[in-house]
Structures are given as structure tokens and as C-alpha cells.
């Protein structure tokens, strides 16, 4: 099984449509290339996208034909679940199941973590962690987890991050929560707060 969160496909289109600057329109391509590589490497039979897969519903609708075909190709022979996110709440005209959340006892997959729940896998916050090493502070996307939940970092190319010591994240996670900082070799550490 491969779980990814916050792909934000079509971000360039959404920003442009709203009168913003024309960013390089390559983020969908870049995100899909990485997804394809990870699918090949993991040979996952099931893919769960934890929401905000598209930057908005309109961006999903206007996705260029080549990218739609690409996604269909990736979906072939796999179970694929789109969880709804705050950016893409509506149904999307693409293959795969569309769900508000996916219960898979004892786990629940949803976009935004809910305080008080447990067994929860979610995204939304784009968590990152800052490690103060002896020579330099290094900040990277990170997984956060405790006995109740896992919060995944954003997978999309055009995404920023929210630091683990932000009140929103610090309040959600148990005091003994851990983080895994991404990189060549992912490393585990107590979640900085």
C-alpha cells in the first residue's frame, strides 16, 4: 500500500486563474514522475491519496488531457482511493474511489486530523521539522506520529511546510510524539515543540 498526501496537482493553473503570477507549469509533471517512481519501487496494490490531491476542484477539471491519461495509467491494476481534502471537497472526474474518509479498522484515513480520535492517518498540515545541528539548522518535511495518529508530510512539488512547534501541531500530538525527518536516510527523533 502506498499512502501520499497533499499532492496539490494543478496549483499553477489555480494561481493563474485567480490573477496571480504565472509559475513554471511543471509541478504536476514533477509530482507524477515521483509518484510513478515510488509506485514502481513499492509495487503497491493500493494507493490512498489523503486529500488536497488537487489544488481545487476546478484545477482537477481542467487538468490537461495528457496528465489525466498519465494518472489513469498509474491507476491501472491498482485499488486507488481519493480522500477529500479542504482544497478538493467535490467529486473528481477521475477513476478510483472518492471518499470523505476511509475506515480500515483499526485505522481511519482522513485529510485533517481530529483531536480525540485514534488510529488515524492524515495529512493537511504539511508538517516539517527543524533540527538544530551543531553547525547548521536543517528544516525538512517530516512525518509526525504518536500512539493515536500519523500526520504525513506533503508530497506535491509546490508545497511548503508548517513547523512541528506550531501550536496547531503541538496541540494535536501527544507529548511523547516522534518525528521522522525525510532525506537520503529518514531519521527518527522526538518531535521538536
Amino acid at each position: 500500500m502506498l499512502i501520499v498526501s497533499d499532492l496539490h496537482l494543478g496549483k499553477t493553473e489555480r494561481v493563474l486563474r485567480r490573477g496571480g503570477p504565472a509559475m513554471p507549469p511543471y509541478e504536476t509533471r514533477d509530482t507524477l514522475i515521483r509518484l510513478e517512481n515510488d509506485l514502481q519501487a513499492s509495487n503497491a496494490a493500493t494507493v490512498i491519496c489523503l486529500g488536497d490531491s488537487f489544488d481545487d476542484v476546478e484545477a482537477a477539471k481542467t487538468l490537461p488531457e495528457a496528465d489525466r491519461l498519465w494518472i489513469s495509467r498509474l491507476q491501472a491494476g491498482r485499488r486507488w482511493v481519493w480522500i477529500e481534502g479542504n482544497h478538493d471537497p467535490g467529486p473528481i472526474d477521475l477513476g478510483g474511489a472518492h471518499l470523505a474518509e476511509l475506515p480500515l479498522p483499526p485505522l481511519t484515513f482522513r485529510h485533517i486530523a481530529q483531536s480525540g480520535k485514534s488510529g488515524e492517518i492524515s495529512g493537511h498540515y504539511h508538517p516539517k521539522v527543524r533540527v538544530k545541528t551543531r553547525l547548521r539548522s536543517i528544516s525538512r518535511p517530516s512525518f509526525l506520529f504518536d500512539s493515536d495518529r500519523v500526520i504525513l508530510p506533503a508530497y506535491g512539488t509546490y508545497t511548503g511546510g508548517l513547523r512541528s512547534d506550531d501550536t496547531a501541531l503541538a496541540a494535536l500530538m501527544r507529548p511523547e510524539a516522534m518525528a521522522i525527518i525525510t532525506g537520503q536516510t529518514p531519521r527518527q527523533l522526538p518531535m521538536p515543540r
Binding site: 493563474l16 503570477p21 504565472a22 507549469p25 511543471y26 539548522s137 506533503a154 536516510t185 527518527q188
Partner: protein, 779 residues
């Protein structure tokens, strides 16, 4: 000036204090006195907000004396929205403004009406503008004004410069002539080095040792200005000065990070003559009427002789008395630099490098702002732009590429053309697709690159008084209880609230230091070569004994750099391995060398982490010791690694961020935007990496390369340096930091090396330590 009132363009070169600003206004006052005028008559543009306010005060006096009914108003970033709106409807006779505010003013649909009566424009401190993108933006705005008002007369006011004809070319509409007038330069300034009983330290930029001597000077003069090269240094010095100020002399502090109300208070006190001394940085550097300033003190080496002379020139308003200035070196190396700078001043050896043609990111912004003011014809705009001196050489192709960038983004992948920013109408004119975008474009106008800053204020229950701002990166390092200096007082960090740094006053004597971005000055190559020759002497009788001894110590502990040889020192300090390379090639060449060497070190698995360059050396640090530096300098290998190396480094990404912001690809981080969605904004590095991968020839990548290379030297210069050296590389392994390497530890402008291997090792080391500390075994 009056005799030349009808010339299209005049440049006046005069030292400050010669009343040159008033001279610039003479034709305006004469004209307004003889003929009643409706609306805007003269536009005055200066690089500094404070200067506009100052001119307003000074101009009022003669105007009232003659009894003229002239309205004079300022318009800067500090002007209120209400006043700005009113000025557009009912402009004053004389409007005092900055390049940024002028660019904005020309971007309104009613620009033709605002500038309807405009006859003259006066550009003050044009020598300072000529060196920057702010100048490029201004000259493009002048081209636009000239289209609106073909009879517009231009006057430029400049301090003494090496090549006034270059500035004249920028000022004039191409190909109009521009006459250059020279005022009497007055007597040469009286500059010397401050003698102190105590020796300056090896390392340090604060000049704390000189506090008693500086206080004595303040007491002996009416008003003293104490200049520093960085804001952080000004803060520390001011703090120390107050600790020793037993007589409670009125001394103030002024720099660009302080709250506006605070700055205005200091400016007003200075005008009234209530202050005995002001500790300041470049924010007071330009042209302000300094009243009775009779002494200028420069703390830290003047990195640039021309700048030094211009600064000192301000000190004196009595035209026939020499202005008086003292240099206070902050460390021993700066003593050597000061001695050589003084010799250069005596010999009239002004430095300064010529600047190439105007950068295209400014061009892109101008096109977008032009579109905000209404539809335009591409041919007309091209003709208008090439009438600006900096853009005379702009080809139609280059212009079209910029226009395409503004319209669609100009990407190789034409994905979303229906949303393009600019559209061509059936009649061929270009206009904004969405007229609402105009407001958004105006918000992002300007060419000054601020690093993101956060406001600092006292906690609400302690009055909520705004104190100034600090860089976001510095704020991120603070934890509750940390103390730092701002506006001369020590404050305690309490927390972050609504993107404002909340602090309380604190009585601690030793603060952590606020890190403000320091201005990077570059010495000319002449000054560093002069210094290298100077080091060859057997002894230095003109140096104070402490500094001569210090150089002798360098000689015995390591060696002194020599022409035709290359000295390389390696030493360990604070857990990092350092390598110092003394090329004396000027900052740009040393910077290039730093990039090349760290790339080489990465290839050799030496885990370099960063480097910093001064005019005489490059200091590189990393995790592993360089046992034998000689192979690093192999010309063939350095050259072979050249292709592609430049693309991925931090310097390029930094340059890209600046160019992309000016060209309108990245919107400025407004406080409200940051508040609403921090996880939604992402680093400009991602955009850079994406372009590098999928569209490496995109116009912004071209601009970035051009710009980065402007600040670097081409490989032939490095080649010449290393060929001159051949195998005469002297490697010294020192037990600790050497006298000559010490000043580099504090140099501003450190460039991080984003080497994967070093960061992976550091993360592994730190996470392991954290896991052990918390009693958790590795999973």
C-alpha cells in the same frame, strides 16, 4: 543653473553642503515666481525618504521669504493613504518622492492627468541611484514621463564621481545631450585614524575598545556622527557607548530597522541641534542636512574609498573649511585597511566599477506596471524604454521575450494560455486580462530586496510600543527568555503573536545579538592590491605598534601572503575545519574561487558547509580537514567541473529569488498572506529547481545567470590568478585561527553549501544524540 533652465538635461556635480539641491530648484522657483501654474510643476526624486522630508523643510524657507504661493509636498512609503489619494486628484506644485513611489504613481490610469503640467524633474544623489536597480527603475519611469510630457527638463545632482559622463548618459533621454557642471569641490577633507591607548582586538567588529576615545571626541565637538557598516554593529556600539556615558551626553541611534516614529524623533532632535552624537548606518548616509555636524567618525574599515569620501563630504556645511573625519578600525586587519584607504584618499584614487546595461527583471516589472496604467502598444513601449540610458542596447528580441514573460510566463510548456496575464486586443494593444490584477501588481512594485522581517513590539500589557523589526530568520532562532538589542535597549523575547515579535524590557547587561543583514561593501581590486604590496615590507613604521606586531606574529605563526604565490591556511575551530585562501583578488574573484573550491571539495567528499569571501581571502569550512589543498587548485579539474556547477548552488538560488520577485513571478510576502496560510507558501528554491529541471533556458534563468555572473568574475580571471601562482602554493597547518584569518570569521555574506553529504551526517549525528538523550533506542 538659471542660464541652462531650457536645456533638456543638466548634471550638476558638487560636494554636499554646496547648496546644490537648492541650485537644482532655482529654475523651478524662478518659473513659478513669474508665472502662475496649475498642478504639478516639478518632481524631485531622491533615494531616501528622510531626504525628501529634509528638502521640504529647507525649501520652505526661501519660498516663504520670497513670498511665493507654492505648495510643496512629499510622497513616500510613509505618506498616508488619504494624502496620497488627494495628491492624485490635486497634485502640489512641487512633489518630493522616491523612485518606488514614482513608479507607483505612473502605474495609475490617471497618470496622464497627474503629470499634466509637469515641466521639470530633479534627481538628487543620482550617483547612488546610478549603481542600483532602483536607478534603472527610476530612469524607465522618467522615459514614461517624457512620453507624457515631451518637453520635460531633467536635472541630476551628484557627489564627486570618477566618470560623470556615465551618469550623464543615464540621466539624459537618449540621444539628448547632457551638460555637466562642476561646482568648486572645496578644500580636501581632513581624515585621520583615531589614536587609542588600547589596541584593537584581533577579531571583532564592535570597536568596543575605542569607546573611551570616541566619547572624548564627542565631548570635544559640537555634533558627531558615528557611522557603522552594519546595523548589528551600530546597536552594540550604541549600547556600549551608553554604559560608559557618565555625563549622560544626549546621544541617539538611527538605522533602517528602527520604527519610523523612533527614527523621526531622532531626526527632529538632530535638526534642533539637541543631540551631541548619533550612532547610525547608511540610512543617514545620504544628503540629509546635518546641521552643525563638525565630526564624522567611521567605525570599521571603509570598504570603499569613494563611499568614504562621500560620507565625509556631508559633514561640513561651511563651504571653505575642510570636513573632519576619524577612522576607527574595529580590529587589527582593519588598521591595515584604514592606513591604505587613507593613502588612497590622499592620492585621489577613487574606486568604482562600471556597471553593465540595465537588468531585465526591472524591465519586466516596468512592463507590468505600464499595463496596470492602461493598454499600450508594444512598439511605442520598446521605443520609450530604449530612450533610457541603461537600456539603449536592449534588442527588440530581448524586449519581446520580456513581454512574453509578462503575458504568459514564457514557458516552453504552453499549458494555461487562457489565463495569461496580458492579452493583446484586436487593435494590437496589450492590456491586463483581469483589471483587478493592477492592484496586486502595485503591491509588488519596487526593486529593493528586503529579507522578510517581523515587527518587534513591547507586549501589550507593557504598552505595545513598536520598537522596530528583526529578520524573520533571526526571530526563528529565539526561544522565550532570550535577550537581544534593538534601538539601543535590551529586550527579552516573550513570544510570537500575530506575526509580531513580543518583547519586554530587560535589565541584562549582556544581550544576545540581533542579526540584521549587513550591507556588503566591496573594496575595489585596487585597494586590495595596494594592501598586498604594503604587506611585503620588512616593517611597518606607519602602523601603530600593536598592529605591526600583529603582522609580525602572522609572519612567525604562518606567513604573509606574497604576490605570485598563494597562501593557504588550514585550522580547526569550534568543531569545524577551516581553510583560508589568500588571493587578494577582490571580493568578486574570491567569491568565485569559493564556489569553485567548494564544488571541488564536494566531489572529493570533503563535506564543505559554506564559505565567506572578503577582498583579500576566502574562508571555507566543512566537516573534514583538508590535508593537502594542492590538488584542489588544479586548473584543468576546476575548469572541467565548471559546467553545471553554477546552476545548483545557493548563490544562484538567492539571485533567482531577487530577480523573480522583481520580475513579478514571486509575490512579496505580505504580513496578511503569511498569517493566513503559512503551509501554503513555499520556498522560491522549489521554483528554481523546477525550472532548472524542465525549462533551463527560461528568461528568468537567463536573467539569474547574467546577474550572478555580474557579481562573480569570469573563469579567465581565476585562470590568470592560478597560472600566475603555478605550483607556488604555500600550505600552513596552523594550531588555531591565525591573525589574518580571524577577521573573516565575522565577515558578512556567508554562502552556505547545500551539500547533501554534510547535512546527512549532521542530521544522523544530531538525531542519534536526541534519541539517546530521551532514553529511546533506535528503532
Amino acid at each position: 543653473m538659471l542660464a541652462r533652465a531650457d536645456d533638456p538635461c543638466t548634471l550638476l556635480i558638487a560636494p554636499t553642503g554646496g547648496g546644490k539641491t537648492l541650485a537644482g530648484f532655482l529654475p523651478t522657483l524662478a518659473d513659478l515666481a513669474t508665472m502662475p501654474h496649475e498642478g504639478l510643476h516639478t518632481l524631485y526624486v531622491s533615494p531616501l525618504k528622510a531626504l525628501a522630508a529634509d528638502i521640504k523643510r529647507n525649501l520652505r524657507a526661501p519660498v516663504e521669504e520670497i513670498g511665493l504661493d507654492i505648495r510643496i509636498e512629499g510622497r513616500t512609503g510613509d505618506t498616508s493613504q488619504t494624502v496620497k489619494k488627494r495628491q492624485r486628484v490635486d497634485p502640489p506644485h512641487i512633489l518630493l518622492t522616491t523612485p518606488e513611489s514614482l513608479a507607483l504613481l505612473t502605474s495609475y490610469e490617471d497618470a496622464p492627468r497627474i503629470f499634466k503640467g509637469l515641466k521639470r524633474v530633479v534627481v538628487d544623489e543620482i550617483h547612488a541611484l546610478a549603481e542600483s536597480k532602483r536607478g534603472d527603475q527610476l530612469f524607465l519611469a522618467l522615459a514614461r514621463l517624457q512620453s507624457l510630457r515631451p518637453g520635460l527638463k531633467r536635472v541630476g545632482l551628484s557627489a564627486t564621481v570618477d566618470h560623470p559622463e556615465d551618469i550623464a548618459k543615464l540621466l539624459a533621454r537618449n540621444p539628448d545631450p547632457c551638460e555637466i557642471l562642476y561646482a568648486d569641490p572645496g578644500p580636501a577633507p581632513d581624515i585621520s585614524m583615531l589614536e587609542t591607548e588600547e589596541a584593537p582586538p584581533w577579531l571583532g567588529g564592535g570597536a568596543a575598545y575605542a569607546i573611551p576615545a570616541v566619547l572624548e571626541q564627542v565631548k570635544a565637538h559640537k555634533t558627531t556622527l558615528i557611522f557603522h557598516n552594519t546595523r548589528a554593529q551600530a546597536e552594540i556600539f550604541f549600547h556600549n557607548l551608553w554604559l560608559s556615558n557618565d555625563e549622560s551626553l544626549p546621544i541617539g541611534i538611527h538605522h533602517g530597522s528602527l520604527d519610523r516614529a523612533q527614527r523621526e524623533k531622532v531626526e527632529a532632535a538632530m535638526v534642533r541641534g539637541n543631540l551631541r552624537a548619533i550612532v547610525c548606518t547608511g540610512s543617514l548616509d545620504l544628503g540629509i542636512d546635518w546641521g552643525d555636524v563638525d565630526l564624522v567618525i567611521q567605525v570599521g574599515a571603509p570598504k570603499n574609498v569613494k563611499r568614504l569620501v562621500q560620507r565625509i563630504g556631508r559633514a561640513n556645511h561651511r563651504y571653505n573649511a575642510p570636513s573632519k573625519a576619524l577612522l576607527v578600525p574595529a580590529n587589527r586587519w582593519e588598521v591595515v585597511e584604514c592606513v591604505n584607504a587613507l593613502k588612497a584618499v590622499q592620492e585621489g584614487d577613487l574606486d568604482g566599477d562600471p556597471r553593465g546595461s540595465g537588468p531585465r527583471d526591472v524591465l519586466c516589472q516596468h512592463i507590468l506596471l505600464r499595463a496596470a496604467s492602461g493598454p499600450f502598444d508594444a512598439d511605442d513601449l520598446y521605443a520609450e524604454m530604449t530612450s533610457a540610458g541603461a537600456y539603449v542596447d536592449l534588442t527588440r528580441d530581448a524586449f519581446d521575450t520580456c513581454l512574453e514573460f509578462c503575458a504568459t510566463g514564457g514557458y516552453a510548456l504552453k499549458a494555461y494560455d487562457r489565463w495569461q496575464r496580458l492579452q493583446q486586443r484586436p487593435d494590437g494593444q496589450w492590456q491586463l486580462r483581469d483589471p483587478r490584477a493592477a492592484a496586486r501588481l502595485r503591491m509588488n512594485a519596487g526593486t529593493i530586496q528586503d529579507s522578510d522581517t517581523l515587527k518587534v513590539q513591547l507586549k501589550r500589557n507593557r504598552g505595545g510600543k513598536p520598537l522596530g523589526e528583526v529578520e524573520e530568520a533571526f526571530a526563528a532562532t529565539l526561544s522565550a527568555g532570550d535577550t537581544f538589542l534593538i534601538g539601543g535597549q535590551i529586550v527579552r523575547y516573550e513570544g510570537l503573536r500575530d506575526m509580531t515579535v513580543q518583547v519586554s524590557r530587560n535589565a541584562a547587561r549582556k544581550p544576545r545579538v540581533a542579526v540584521f543583514s549587513g550591507t556588503k561593501f566591496s573594496t575595489s581590486t585596487q585597494l586590495s592590491q595596494r594592501t598586498l604590496r604594503y604587506l611585503q615590507a620588512d616593517s611597518w613604521p606607519d602602523l601603530p605598534a600593536h598592529t605591526a606586531d600583529w603582522l609580525q606574529l602572522q609572519r612567525s605563526m604562518s606567513r604573509l601572503p606574497e604576490p605570485g604565490r598563494l597562501l593557504v591556511e588550514t585550522f580547526e575551530r569550534d568543531g569545524r575545519q577551516n581553510m583560508c585562501v589568500y588571493g587578494f583578488a577582490g571580493r568578486n574573484a574570491q567569491q568565485t574561487l569559493g564556489l569553485l573550491l567548494t564544488k571541488r571539495m564536494e566531489d572529493m567528499d570533503l563535506a564543505p558547509m559554506g564559505f565567506v569571501s572578503s577582498d583579500y581571502a576566502t574562508l571555507i569550512w566543512g566537516l573534514d580537514e583538508v590535508v593537502d589543498p594542492r590538488p584542489l587548485f588544479d586548473l584543468q579539474t576546476l575548469k572541467a567541473g565548471l559546467d553545471g556547477w553554477l546552476a545548483g548552488n545557493a548563490l544562484m538560488k538567492r539571485t533567482f529569488r531577487g530577480a523573480a520577485t522583481i520580475a513579478g513571478l514571486i509575490e512579496r510576502n505580505t504580513p496578511s498572506a503569511r498569517k493566513s496560510g503559512r503551509q501554503a507558501t513555499f520556498s522560491s528554491d522549489i521554483l528554481y529547481d523546477t525550472l532548472l529541471k524542465y525549462d533551463p533556458d527560461h528568461v528568468l534563468m537567463q536573467i539569474t545567470r547574467e546577474e550572478a555572473l555580474r557579481g562573480l568574475v569570469d573563469f579567465s580571471r581565476i585562470e590568470a590568478l592560478l597560472e600566475n601562482v603555478q605550483d607556488r602554493i604555500d600550505h600552513v597547518t596552523a594550531p588555531h585561527v591565525t591573525p589574518l584569518a580571524a577577521p573573516l570569521l565575522l565577515e558578512v555574506g556567508k554562502v552556505p553549501v547545500q551539500s547533501g553529504s554534510a547535512e546527512e551526517r549532521l542530521i544522523a549525528e544530531e538525531t542519534e544524540a536526541l534519541m539517546n538523550e530521551s532514553g529511546l533506542t533506535k528503532v
